[in-house]
Symmetry: C2
Subunit: 325 residues, 2 copies
């Protein structure tokens, strides 16, 4: 088969011939039609992830065919039986196990779900990791109820957009932040009630004046902005964090959360059950994942550059050049 | 009646004649037998609390008699119907409403519970605020399960000791911190499995070597020590904070909690239902609140001084001088 091969840290990805995957017990081999990028893939190319092996094939998100069935892939490997947290040995498809940025991938048969029929291959490939991460953050950890007010930071990112779409479908009132007025405007076209540019002084006051207070905040930035979240929270609110791209929170105080009974909830990925629930939710509400752009896998370098710049609004998808497409 | 009267900020408390309480609709007047101190009472004497009025009578904790019944008092005023959080207008007995450091107090009749028969007046008076705060922190917010490992910081404080007693009764393995070796030793006599002096360099490594990892941490300090908690946590652990005596946490990062699915849960006081559940738990397990010392209300200044020094192990109780005692 052909695959996008990572040969070393800070080494250009190479689209070339690679040994076909050999399925292990319980595994099947899928003909990938489309794959999608995650920030994780960019970090791995820079060596910023534990357990990197070379040569490797990146890609946690994929959709493809097996014996005439159209399928999407749950990228979990070994979450375990505990719904509250993964096992320490948990990993996901696309490093160290070879991932979806290839013509073929070997996955456990029980990780396959029917591709929602309302989705294109590109939309289906955009869904797995971002969708399941958002689903756990919003529903399992965030326990979102209809009518609640939700703040989703960094709109434009894959997980953030899924979180917004899921929260809107569940009947919540959604506000967003971004450093781009254009992304805020696009979120409002999709149903958000308002938003603020987090790079402007007083963004938190702007949000408070728009929304009053929030019942749920979904964040992957951390940093000094995180310290304002408790002030923006209603009593009993939940702040779910699934990332820390802006690093440490220098201004967190217990006082800001205990009187208001606020919860700060770390969340990452999702269990197999949550993946299944997420697919059912997407079907039920006929949600279309937001695809920022589609590149041929032969142009993957341009796709990775777009991801690294952070200008995308939605998922960046690779179309796999197949023998049958 | 006679009462301990607070006449102004940083003004000595005065035990003197005061107008008998006049019960409002739904209220009854209790003859107090014993009252107990909370840190809150000390802060109020220093003006460090919102909504202080003069003259006032402090005291959230009390036990007493009404028509031959022996009763303890739930200090909640207006928690509301939502079990997840109190109403904004919520307050507790003992400022602004006159409290238990008097011969009589007016309280809503539905806030009275039978005094557990295995408790003395002093033990019963020690229970309400600390017991309900610990109960919510450990069970409602912390969702403690039998067999889990629990770290309780600042052992010796009223809430911390109740938290330890409740966790032990629920079948957990408890570790503690203190700046006093003597308090750690006393906690271990009561059933704790180990502990560490948080003022010593490497206290967190000492705890990790003793316990491995924690499923639940109960803290009221915050400060730099709080930043170590996620490292001490198992996957899926909960960190419950009900105070912040050591202030801001300078070293908190989202990265430290999201991968391990850790929850940081603010908690304060408890609902009326939790108060009732706490009393039932104390009866079921025949728990005796830890009484550090008993002072006559005529010696209240000495009791407040002991509280301010932080040397106590357990609750500081005032015996009320009554006409029928």
């Amino acid at each position: 088969m052909k695959a996008l091969v990572l040969k070393g840290k800070d080494t250009p990805l190479s689209y070339e011939n690679f040994q076909d995957p050999i399925p292990q017990a319980g595994e099947v081999v899928i003909d990938i039609q489309a794959a999608a990028l995650n920030h994780r893939d960019v970090w791995i190319t820079r060596g910023l992830y534990p357990g990197i092996v070379f040569p490797g094939i990146l890609g946690s998100d994929g959709a493809g065919r097996l014996n005439g069935r159209e399928l999407i892939i749950n990228p979990n490997i070994g979450w375990g039986d505990n719904l509250r947290h993964q096992k320490k040995s948990y990993s996901i498809l696309g490093m160290p196990k070879h991932g979806t940025m290839a013509q073929k991938v070997a996955v456990e048969a029980n990780k396959l779900h029917d591709k929602p029929t309302h989705l294109s291959w590109e939309e289906a490939a955009a869904m797995p990791l971002g969708g399941m991460t958002a689903y756990r953050a919003v529903f399992t950890r965030g326990v979102l109820q209809a009518g609640e007010k939700v703040l989703i930071t960094g709109i434009g990112g894959g997980v953030a957009l899924f979180a917004m779409q899921f929260a809107l479908a569940a009947g919540a009132e959604v506000y967003v932040t971004s450093s781009s007025d254009q992304k805020i405007a696009r979120a409002m076209e999709m149903g958000a009630s308002g938003g603020a540019d987090y790079k402007l002084e007083g963004w938190e006051k702007e949000l408070a004046s728009q929304a009053g207070g929030f019942d749920l905040i979904i964040d992957s930035a951390g940093g000094p902005g995180f310290g304002f979240f408790p002030k923006l929270c209603n009593y009993g609110a939940r702040i779910v964090t699934y990332g820390g791209s802006k690093g440490a929170v220098p201004n967190f105080t217990p006082q800001s959360i205990f009187w208001k009974q606020i919860s700060i909830l770390g969340s990452t990925m999702a269990s197999d059950q949550e993946f299944a629930d997420m697919v059912a939710f997407v079907n039920q509400h006929q949600i279309h994942p937001v695809v920022d752009s589609v590149f041929s896998i032969t142009e993957a370098t341009a796709a990775f550059e777009r991801m690294a710049k952070g200008e995308q609004f939605g998922k960046i998808v690779l179309r796999i050049e197949t023998n049958n497409s």
